[in-house]
């Protein structure tokens, strides 16, 4: 009985240090998990970037032509109207006024 009460005493004394240990352990686990998650996400992002750059890489010449050629049709499917003398004069006047306004 005397031995048992000693054990109980020991347990009750060591209880606060046990709680603190658990606290530390859970913080450590959290930081560890966070680091692992970070590393995993980082690695996945790098792999995904590499795969995407290989798989989705466009042929530069083809991509360039896809940019340029549709414009030809759109540009030409228009009516072009010759400017009247009045329009031309007004345009020159506007351009000069704009220039003066911008640069004082």
């Amino acid at each position: 009985m005397g031995e048992e009460s000693k054990k109980e005493l020991t347990l009750s004394v060591s209880a606060p240090s046990g709680t603190s240990k658990e606290d530390h352990a859970s913080r450590r686990t959290f930081i560890k998990n966070l680091a692992i998650a970070g590393a995993v996400i980082g690695t996945n992002a790098l792999v995904a970037k590499k795969v995407a750059s290989v798989v989705l890489e466009k042929d530069p010449q083809r991509a360039y032509l896809e940019d340029v050629l549709p414009g030809d049709r759109v540009m030409m499917a228009r009516e072009y109207v010759v400017m009247t003398d009045e329009e031309k004069k007004r345009l020159v006047k506007t351009l000069i006024e704009n220039y003066k306004k911008r640069l004082g």
Partner: protein, 342 residues
């Protein structure tokens, strides 16, 4: 009791060392990570490696002080000279006072030889292959025709609108796949040629949409791009109604021996993958009082260039005396590139 105490002490030690280890590891990882990033950012070539960091952190060219501009230019000159094995100059010359550039093209004279395209590629250090980038497009179009035989064909509708046959066949039909036409001789019968390039709009839509303000209009009217500040979002390409902008889908291929060493920061200096580029009216030339490469090379004198503020300039004379039209006037972009007819 003794055992418990001992355990606690050991655990305390382990705990302490773990935290220390963790911090140590985190520190090492951070350093390694930064070193990795540095390795990725810097190039393998000596010159590139030396300037990439500085270039990476430089600000928008417009916001730089004169001193910063000079430093940026010096860095580039050094890198390009080492990369291309020749003395490369990068000009930072600003716009001249009382100059507003304008361009006029005689659509009747153009013979579609595409010499202007080639001269532009050569002058402006454009990628030669994969992709072959060209700032000027010359489109071959069908000529309009007047046929007296067709005069009686067709009939007017109730509203007086001609239905069916007509004496006049409209011009302006784009012939199939004619962007890279390869005839034996030019000009071809029944075709005329329509060169298109950046119109250097007075109110440029591309400038309005740029989220980082890397593209802007200079006082002399030229719309420029700070290639170092461009994020390659392609917003400007979508906004340009003239399809005048080009995107570097791949690393540009510019052979050392073909590189034009006379460059401008906002003009023809070598570009990198992922940035947009376009015609700048050869500002590396025009700001020194020279003509653009396309004007100089045109064998029939179809291209004219000058100062819109000067009443005696060729462009102003054309505006006064010739029949002039512009592209997409409906958008109110006020293009300063005019097409004219004698």
């Amino acid at each position: 009791m003794k055992r418990e105490d001992k355990k606690t002490t050991i655990e305390k030690n382990i705990e302490g060392s773990t935290r220390r280890d963790f911090l140590k590891k985190t520190g090492s990882l951070s350093v390694a990570g930064l070193a990795g990033v540095a390795t990725l950012m810097t190039g393998t070539k000596d010159a590139q490696a030396r300037v990439t960091w500085a270039e990476w952190f430089q600000t928008n060219y417009r916001l730089m002080t004169e001193e910063e501009k000079r430093e940026a230019i010096e860095r580039l000159e050094k890198r390009y000279s080492e990369e291309y094995g020749k003395k490369v100059t990068v000009d930072g010359r600003p716009a001249q006072k009382n100059v507003l550039f304008g361009y006029a093209l005689n659509i009747q004279k153009c013979i579609g030889c595409r010499r202007c395209v080639k001269a532009c590629v050569k002058e402006n250090n454009q990628s030669r292959h994969d992709p072959e980038i060209e700032w000027i497009r010359v489109i071959r179009m069908e000529k309009g025709k007047f046929s007296a035989e067709d005069m009686d064909k067709g009939y007017p509708s109730d509203y007086g609108i001609q239905v069916g046959g007509n004496a006049y066949k409209n011009a302006g039909v784009v012939l199939e796949g004619q962007h890279y036409y390869q005839p034996e001789r030019v000009p071809e019968k029944d075709a005329f040629y329509f060169p298109i390039q950046c119109m250097q709009c007075e109110k440029p839509p591309c400038v309005k949409v740029c989220p980082v303000r890397t593209t802007y209009r200079e006082p002399d009217g030229i719309v420029v791009i700070d290639y170092n500040w461009c994020i390659g979002c392609r917003m400007c390409m979508g906004a340009c109604p003239y399809w005048a902008r080009r995107f570097n889908w791949g690393e540009p291929n510019l052979p050392k021996e073909e590189m034009n060493p006379d460059t401008h920061y906002l003009g023809n200096r070598p570009r990198m993958k992922g940035v947009v580029e376009k015609c700048t009216f050869c500002l590396q030339r025009t700001r020194k009082g020279r003509y653009t490469a396309c004007v100089e090379v045109c064998p029939v004198g179809a291209r004219k260039f000058g100062n819109l503020l000067d009443p005696e300039s060729e462009v102003r004379r054309i505006l006064e005396r010739k029949r002039v039209f512009r592209l997409r006037v409906d958008l109110n972009t006020f293009p300063k590139f005019f097409y004219f007819i004698d």
